[in-house]
Symmetry: C2
Subunit: 224 residues, 2 copies
DNA sequence: GCATGTGAATAGATTCACAGCG
DNA sequence: CGCTGTGAATCTATTCACATGC
């Protein structure tokens, strides 16, 4: 019963939040136990993958029966730190930043909006989702008041690296970058990025190529 | 070798848009040629990976010299269909949908906002980014008028599957889903998803388990 | 000489298939 | 029995290392 002492593969980590959501849905429907097969179906993955993923957290299933939903929620949630308090800071409150600030369902996952920062004088002072936007220069003050868990960058691309540097200097060690630019951060900082244009271009690549394949032969292709 | 003969690995496809952006930046700085090493540095990946990725498109480099920037832009862009016209439809114009509708830089990548759809009477008729929001029921009419390339779902989770079904029925074969729910689509439809809460939870997982050496799950990490 | 292009080696993720246990 | 848990097999991606050719 040493919860997840073996290193959990990256691919598995990226699926845990998905499993957690599906499990919470099941719990909401009063479902008590679930098989890897059913869980896989709901999560859109393969059943063996579910079992292997969950086995990295420990052996929490019952052979011949399945997994106890509440028990799994507890363990997956613990692994993801859902019970902790994760203060977020959003930098850049254009359309995207606003959308993120208004994103529901974060508090139920342990997140809390700690501050909204921008440099535009016409935005600073504005109230968004019950929080007043403060000037980016107040970042250090905010960081001193509480340990910021994640910095979200939703600025124009030209400002993103500078903002990242300031977040890192302020002690932030996890950054989610929405600006379409490659950021450099020190090794101890975890960085992920979300890029709308990239996602769209990946989609159109496949459109383009499926069209090509169809023109050559009527061969069907699989999509994930 | 003729481009696009062999199947291009998925991982490579997902990096091509990134390379393209870096190349466009270089072209903007009047850089004529670039080595795999430099390109890798700017894209935040390994040089051998860049060479292997590009080799799937054909052999467009010059040994001892590097890659011609404009020539590469042309070929990578062609592969991604940047020169084509890709009509997009956004369904759901809450905060996120609005942010997406106002997202700049899409037209330069071959995208065009074809329609904005919602079911909320207080939103229908509103003008966003120079386009009037129409009712979702007009989807079929829009699809009949022009071949929609990508459907973007930015609705509440409960509505997402229904919207996906309607998009598919209307002939859309590529969907980008921002709703935090697993969608089912037929095999011939390409589906990608972007989920803010999942991204944040992946980040906090690594925060929680910070005894690891570096943990970067997307791409684009580099030491400063 | 020098950077590409690519087989070979390695690492990582997925899937299979079945032993093991409730 | 049924379903988990997991070694082994497979598939995919990354990285190495060097022959190749400008």
């Amino acid at each position: 019963m040493s919860p997840g002492r073996a290193r959990i593969p990256e691919a598995t980590v990226s699926r845990l939040p998905l499993y957690l959501r599906v499990l919470l849905d099941l719990a909401g429907e009063q479902v008590r136990t679930v098989s890897s097969e059913r869980l896989a179906e709901l999560a859109g993955v393969n059943a063996a993958k579910v079992r292997k993923d969950l086995s990295y957290l420990g052996s929490y299933g019952t052979r011949g029966v399945g997994y106890d939903v509440d028990f799994l929620i507890d363990h997956v949630g613990r692994e993801l730190g859902v019970t902790s308090d994760w203060p977020l800071v959003i930098v850049g409150l254009g359309n995207l930043g606003r959308a993120l600030a208004n994103y529901g369902g974060l508090s139920s996952r342990g997140f809390r909006m700690a501050a909204l920062l921008d440099v535009d004088p016409s935005v600073v002072g504005e109230k968004i989702a019950d929080l007043a936007v403060r000037h980016l220069d107040e970042l250090e003050r905010v960081a001193a008041a509480e340990r910021l868990a994640v910095g979200i960058i939703a600025t124009p691309p030209a400002a993103a690296q500078d903002v990242a540097d300031r977040l890192v200097a302020a002690g932030v060690t996890a950054i989610l970058n929405f600006a379409p630019v490659v950021l450099s951060v020190p090794d101890h900082v975890t960085l992920r990025k979300v890029d709308l244009a990239v996602e769209l271009q990946i989609l159109t690549f496949y459109q383009h190529h499926q069209a090509r394949l169809r023109a050559v032969a009527g061969d069907g292709e699989e999509s994930a």
